[in-house]
Structures are given as C-alpha cells and as structure tokens.
C-alpha cells in the first residue's frame, strides 16, 4: 500500500529572515539578504558578496555537550529544525516513543575542518584538539547532532548532492514514507557561510562582482547578470504519512505528489538540457499532472548565464511559457546545499499566503528567459500546486512537486 505524504512543519534560518514570519515579510517585500563582506576581501576572494546569516547563540537551548559538536551547518540546522518541530507540535519526548527519521542535506564542513587543522598544526598533538571537533568535521554533522538532541530513532542519513542536497533530502524522505518504511522524516538542508566554505568556488570566477550594489548582484534570468552570490543558513521540512498526521491532528501545509531525479552523466560543472529535462518530466509523470496543473515554478536559476539559460529552455520545453516562474535566489543568493529545502519553504509560504515572491533584479530578459513567464514583482496569486527545481555540480538534478492539501 502506498501512503500519501504531507508536510506538517517548516522552519527557516536564512539571509532574508531567521524565522518563518520574518521570511514571509521579506518574500513579500522582495528584500535582498546580500552583503559585501570585508573578510572575503582580506582572504583573497574575487567576489566579496555573500548572503549573511549570523551564528545563533544556542546556549539558552542546548547543553555544552550538545553544542560542542556543532559548527555552522549544525547550528543553523538546529535553529530551522527547532522552529519546524514546534510548528509540527512535536518534541523529543514524542520522538523517543514514535519512530522518526532524519535525512538532511549537507555537502561541506570546511570552516570546522580548517579550524581543527589549525589547532592540530599549532599544538602538534591530536589529543589537544578537543572532543567536539570530530562531530563538527564530518559531513553528517547535522544528522549526528540533531538525531542525538531530538532522540530520533528512524532513518539517519545525510544527503550530499551538491546544490540539490536539500531537494533530494525531501525526495528521499518522501519515497520512504510513500513506501511505508517510515512514518515521519525530518528533512532539510544546511549551508555554512564562513570564508573557508566558498573560496574554491569563488576561484572558478562564477560569482558576481557587482560590489557597488550587493542587493542588485543576484539577478537570475536577467540579461545583465554576472554570476551567482553564495549564501547559506538552513531550512527544515517535516514530512509524514497522511495517516500519521491525521492521527496526531496535525495541521497540514501541503502534500508532496512528485519527485523526479536524474544525473547528467556529462560535464562536472556545466548544466545539461537532457538531465534537467528528465528530472522535470519524471516528477510530472510521477505526480500524474499536466502543465495546466502547475501554478508556480520556483526555479533553480542561480544568476549564471549558462545555468539560467539551460533551465529556461527546459521549463519552456516541458511546461510551456505561461506558468509564473521566479527564482528566490534573486533575494537570498544561492543557498547551495540548503537551497532545495529552503526554496520549498519559500514556495509553501507563497502557497499558504496567496502570492508569488518576486524574481527581483529581473529587468531585461535574454533570448531564453523571454520565453518563460518570469515574475519580477510581488504578485497576488492563488497557488494550488508548485514545482521546485534544484540542480547541482556533478550533474545531479531534483524536481519536487507539492500541492495544497485536500483530503
């Protein structure tokens, strides 16, 4: 028997807000979370632009032992998960007695690793590194920390799939629940923002250098874009079987109805029409929907010419030119490992509150973006169903389709 999979909690800690209410306001206002970071200049970055998220003070919430294994990915993830868990009406006592899994997207721990290696080099004695570093250094840091804090007893798995990590985490959780292997999974994505995390990416020359206007720098689909802006934080989505949600009397924020995925099998960094096309069509086929059923597309579009162009071609080819499209990365920057999860949160907020968040800085289309319906300003709109794309280095693609819940 297949199970319907619904969303019962969301949480967000991002450059456009540290909670759902703050982010909702920012999405409506088209607020940019991008800043100029002096530290990046000193470090030798080509681009000094980044989405900014402050390190949260977790001392009021967690013991020393619980905090000591956390660096930015886990710290950010705790904040978004705390909000989602509370929204879902859950807590550690519930999790201890009701099997719940966690599949979280994360693909780096650069800041933590550099700090550990610095200590080891300075002290020349590994026994003086400290007991928390190993739990900060491993890529599964979010899973290790949150599963311990929340006493989770189900699937415990980190999803590392570059900039599609967050999206695949939701997709994989969806499949496990659909098949009846899990009742409830905490999904999400986290992204560190320290200077060590993005230096090598910056070195590829793909980041915007519009230093004189940080808020204008991330401009997906715009003819005059000059690259992406890295960003970070964390987003959490709690998903569960419809039976579980109804039994708990939980509020339902949406239903996952389609998950498509593919690998390009091509270049390590360049996108590829065929791979994206297969991911999109797989999600549509699985959901049993036609383009007329989709009311909004949250594009992956990162503000790089080659990425935006390919996605515009795929959207036009698979879904046509009429469906409203926006890339919330125009406001947040590219939240990388977190993006697939955060963009589901942003889109759910739009669906719940009847609006489409603007693709800010979209002033002039190019040949391909002129063929899709990009929304440059806040627009009131009724959304019953949306599609969210995520594409990553190595050619990993993920597409999720989520509908407004109807019994």
């Amino acid at each position: 028997m297949e199970h319907r999979v619904v969303i019962t909690g969301i949480g967000i800690y991002s450059s456009i807000g540290e909670s759902i209410p703050e982010v909702l306001t920012s999405l409506k206002e088209g607020k940019s979370g991008i800043i100029y970071d002096e530290l990046r200049k000193e470090f030798g970055y080509r681009s000094c632009l980044t989405g900014f998220v402050k390190d949260p003070d977790l001392k009021p919430f967690l013991s020393r032992r619980e905090r000591i294994g956390m660096h930015q990915p886990a710290m950010f993830a705790y904040m978004s998960t705390k909000e989602a868990v509370e929204m879902a009406g859950l807590d550690a006592d519930f999790f201890e007695n009701n099997e719940t899994g966690i599949i979280f997207g994360n693909d780096s721990t650069a800041g933590a690793v550099v700090e550990t290696i610095d200590k080891a080099r300075q002290r020349k004695d590994t026994t003086l590194i400290g007991s928390g570093d190993i739990f900060q250094n491993m890529n599964c840091t979010v899973n290790m920390n949150l599963s311990t804090i929340y006493k989770l007893k189900g699937i415990n798995l980190t999803m590392s799939a570059a900039c599609a990590s967050g999206s695949h985490s939701i997709g994989m959780g969806y499949l496990l629940i659909k098949q009846g292997l899990q009742e409830r999974v905490i999904c999400g994505g986290a992204q560190e923002i320290n200077i060590y995390a993005m230096g090598s990416f910056d070195g590829l020359g793909t980041f915007s250098i519009r230093h004189d206007a940080p808020h204008k720098a991330s401009r997906p689909f715009d003819r005059d874009r000059d690259g992406l802006v890295p960003s970070g934080g964390s987003a959490t989505i709690i998903i569960e079987s419809l039976e579980s949600a109804l039994k708990r009397n939980a509020k339902i924020y949406g239903e996952i109805v389609g998950y498509g995925f593919s690998s390009n099998g091509d270049h390590i960094s360049n996108p590829n029409f065929d791979g994206q096309y297969r991911s999109l069509t797989m999600s549509m086929k699985q959901a049993g929907l036609t383009p007329n059923d989709i009311d909004y597309i949250n594009a992956h579009a990162t503000s790089t010419p080659v990425g935006d162009t390919t996605e515009a071609q795929v959207i036009a080819g698979v879904l046509g030119s009429k469906i409203p499209v926006s890339s919330t990365k125009s406001m947040t920057g590219h939240e990388c490992w977190m993006a697939g999860a955060s963009e589901v949160v942003y889109s759910l907020l739009m669906m719940q509150n009847d609006f489409i968040a603007p693709n800010i800085n979209f002033e002039n289309p190019d040949e391909d973006s002129s063929k899709i319906n990009i929304v440059p300003e806040f627009r009131e709109a009724k959304i019953d169903c949306f599609l969210s794309n995520s594409f990553g280095f190595g050619g990993t693609n993920s597409s999720l389709i989520i509908k407004k819940f109807k019994l």
């Binding site: 013991s63 020393r64 032992r65 000591i68 026994t127 003086l128 400290g130 928390g132």
Partner: protein, 81 residues
C-alpha cells in the same frame, strides 16, 4: 602555586568550561558527577588543564581522582614535578 591558588584557578576554568555553578565545586564533591563528565569530556578536561596550568595529565593521573580534593592533590603533585 599554593593550594588556595590551585582551588581558585581550577574553580574558575572548570566552571567556565563545563558550565557549572562554581559553588558546586567543593573539595568533598565528586568531580565527575559535579562536572557531569562523560568519557568524551575528559579530553576537554585535559585540554583546559594544559592551557591553564601548563601540564598535560595522563589517564593514569586520573585513576586516583574521585573528589575535587583528590584532584587538587593530583595537580599539586604534577605541578611539583
């Protein structure tokens, strides 16, 4: 460093590192229970001792330590070496 200085210094860095009320650090109290030390925390205990007192105790050194009084004695011995 005399005994009073050892008590004052260790009370400060132990309460800061392990986030306990300094008033709970009394000679007759059990060190592991008072500081809520798991096996992992002993790694950090060694580090704060090394950073604040300049020596690195071994696992062997902790074998005779149950109370803070035992701990102060161990510190005195090690600092005298």
């Amino acid at each position: 460093m005399n005994r009073a200085e050892i008590i004052e210094t260790t009370k400060r860095f132990l309460s800061e590192e392990f986030e306990v009320d300094p008033n709970t650090i009394e000679p007759e109290n059990n060190l592991q229970e008072t500081l809520d030390l798991s096996s992992l925390d002993y790694v950090d205990l060694v580090i704060v001792i090394e950073e604040n007192l300049g020596f690195k105790p071994s696992a062997e050194d902790f074998k005779s330590v149950a109370t803070f009084e035992d701990f102060y004695q161990m510190v005195e011995v090690k600092m005298a070496e």
